[in-house]
């Protein structure tokens, strides 16, 4: 019990609950079915990417190309849907395959050449985005077919995108907790050298981590397309920052070694509720970035200071 209270996720969760109560008192419409559904659905794509980002951050890496990967997938899917090949089965397969390719390219470059992931993903960020912009000439792809938007219909009052997101969270949490791959991710983020000596194949783990993130981004592209009913290749610019912010707010240690999917989900909800809250409270949208930036700075600062305090309690012996 004490452990649960000490965890970052708990405090963030309590803040989230307090925020929701405050918003409900301020404006009862906040707790209406439509508004809640709105908050949940509009954050599913982000949440799916954030699950992947959690994997990457735990390995002490970073992936700033997630938004581009998502739009890369979304654009090709929208184009595919217009061709005779377009049907629900091929679209799902294509989404996962496209994500697999973009993620694998990231993973291969990072693991093969051992270059800081932010440099590689900054580069591929421009490349993926550049490819779709060149191919579509920046044109919006409108009027996706009915069967496509059907992916995000509401069944028995439950919006399907939320169901997909939940499914992905469960799978991701299972992988992190109960598979060799998941445990290697934690080991590697905690102490790279120790993990290597313990027999973890670092290159393979890095490669798989970025590939998995890519697959999730591909899936996020599908979900995004189906929710919006159109695709704007130049859209969702800068989402990668929000995705990182969500994971960090949810307690994932940016220096690697710690993080949970549950925490990330809370982080995504927190961002979503703040965004929605600003609208409900009639605060101009341009305050949003300022608030997000402040939240990242404060949470990361607390994280690092905590880690320092914990380290100072330990007796450190350094052997070089």
């Amino acid at each position: 019990m004490k452990k649960l209270l000490e965890r970052r996720e708990t405090s963030v969760f309590l803040i989230l609950v307090a925020l929701c109560i405050g918003l409900t008192i301020y404006s009862p419409t906040f707790l209406s079915y439509t508004n809640i559904k709105n908050v949940l659905v509009s954050n599913t794509a982000m949440g799916i990417m954030a699950a992947g980002m959690t994997f990457v951050l735990i390995t002490a890496g970073i992936d700033v190309s997630v938004a581009s990967q998502m739009m890369f997938s979304a654009t090709w899917l929208a184009l595919l849907a217009e061709t005779p090949l377009g049907n629900p089965v091929t679209i799902v397969l294509a989404a996962l395959l496209i994500g697999l390719v973009t993620g694998a390219v990231n993973g291969a470059l990072i693991s093969k050449f051992d270059i800081h992931p932010i440099i590689i993903t900054l580069g591929t960020n421009s490349i993926y985005r550049g490819i779709i912009l060149v191919f579509t000439n920046g044109r919006w792809l409108m009027n996706l077919p009915k069967w496509f938007t059907g992916f995000s219909s509401t069944v028995f009052g439950i919006p399907l995108p939320v169901v997909y997101a939940l499914l992905i969270f469960l799978i991701s949490a299972y992988i992190l907790k109960h598979t060799y791959f998941g445990r290697s991710i934690y080991a590697m983020g905690g102490n790279r050298e120790a993990a290597r000596y313990a027999g973890v194949n670092l290159k393979k783990t890095v490669f798989l981590t970025y590939t998995y993130t890519g697959v999730l981004c591909g899936a996020a592209g599908l979900v995004l397309d189906s929710i919006l009913g159109n695709c704007q290749p130049s859209g969702s610019n800068g989402w990668e920052m929000n995705v990182i912010a969500a994971a960090v707010i949810g307690g994932t240690n940016i220096l690697g070694g710690y993080g949970t999917i549950g925490g990330t989900v809370i982080g995504v909800l927190m961002m979503g509720v703040i965004e929605n809250g600003l609208v409900v409270a009639h605060v101009p949208t341009y305050w949003q970035k300022l608030v997000y930036g402040l939240i990242i700075i404060v949470t990361v600062t607390i994280d690092v200071l905590r880690k320092k305090k914990a380290d100072s309690r330990k007796q450190m012996i350094e052997i070089d």
Binding site: D114, H116, V300
Partner: protein
């Protein structure tokens, strides 16, 4: 050891020169207007803002850090000076306030990095959003026009036939090159980039040096921002937002190691020049700006991978030499 070091330096120089000459050749073949004086001056004008920002980034990257907030620092300073100018303040005062904003930005970055110990990429990722938000809030999300005509000198006047901002870029490059090569502060920057712990133990005041590095970077971003405000006669929060990627690419292309400890401003300027020429050639040939995004991304990845491969082969050579010496 000495020989291997020299080998690498010259290799990087050769690659840069070859790329530079190759692009000049392509430009000349593609369009007859490329090598005219007018076009060359316009390339200089285009590259100045990005070049000045890239100089600042070089300083920070040499210390083993990075400033992902540099683009939004530029936007914030642009908005601040735009607001001051439109409120009727005298130009020097407006510039001073904008400069103060830059110093504040640099101090915030440096405190997060040097005092608290957050990895630079993450700290500046947070401040990137924060500065952008601050600029949006200050400008209420609008672009600020009605910049007084007297301010146009910075981005539109010429000095001795050269655009004024190109002169500023050249002067700043020379000053920074001298500081990096000849001054103690420069040596400290490289030392910190190579090994921050060893630097601290050998008596370098690392916190102070890092503060100066991040403040220098922010101030240079501020200069770039003001030049752009003067050139386009408006100030917007998203000015400079798109500069970050090409700037980092240019720094890396110019031979500065992203891990810190190696590099210089000369290479950076050549890197920026290469990017400016590519976008100029594409504009002359009427190719959409989307291709430029693809090109900058590809060049960044290719250059980093190429540098890594040469570095690895250098290590390999070193190992071979060691083995040979041991067997003898």
């Amino acid at each position: 050891m000495e020989k291997i070091k020299k080998f690498r330096f010259s290799l990087n120089g050769i690659v840069l020169t070859a790329a530079f000459l190759g692009i000049v050749l392509i430009g000349t073949v593609v369009n007859e207007n490329f090598l005219t004086m007018k076009n060359i001056l316009s390339i200089f004008q285009q590259m100045s803002e990005m070049g000045i920002m890239a100089l600042g980034l070089t300083i920070v990257i040499i210390t083993g850090g990075n400033d992902l907030a540099s683009g939004t620092t530029m936007g914030l300073c642009a908005v601040v000076s735009g607001l001051c100018l439109t409120s009727g303040m005298p130009i020097p005062l407006a510039l001073l306030i904008s400069l103060a904003a830059a110093v504040a930005c640099g101090c915030l970055n440096a405190s997060l990095v040097a005092l608290i110990g957050i990895p630079p990429m993450i700290a500046t990722l947070g401040t990137q959003m924060f500065f952008y938000g601050a600029a949006l809030v200050l400008s209420k999300g609008n672009s600020i026009s009605n910049i007084p005509r007297e301010f146009y000198f910075l981005g539109q006047d010429k000095l001795a036939g050269l655009p004024l901002q190109a002169v500023i870029l050249i002067l700043l490059t020379i000053v920074l090159a001298v500081i990096l090569k000849k001054k103690v502060f420069g040596k400290h920057l490289f030392a910190i980039g190579n090994n921050i712990k060893a630097s601290a133990y050998s008596g370098i005041r690392t916190v102070k040096v890092l503060f100066l590095a991040y403040i220098t970077c922010s101030v240079l971003c501020c200069i770039a921002g003001n030049i752009q405000v003067s050139r386009v006669a408006t100030a917007r929060a998203d000015m400079g937002y798109s500069f970050l990627m090409p700037c980092i690419s240019a720094v890396v292309l110019g031979g500065t190691s992203i891990d810190g400890g190696i590099g210089g401003v000369g290479g950076t300027v050549v890197g920026v020049l290469i990017f400016a020429m590519i976008s100029n050639i594409m504009n002359l040939a009427g190719i959409s700006s989307f291709w430029q995004q693809l090109a900058t991304g590809s060049i960044l990845v290719l250059v980093v991978v190429f540098n890594k491969i040469t570095e690895n082969s250098k290590l390999h050579l070193k190992k071979m030499a060691g083995k040979k010496a041991a067997s003898e």
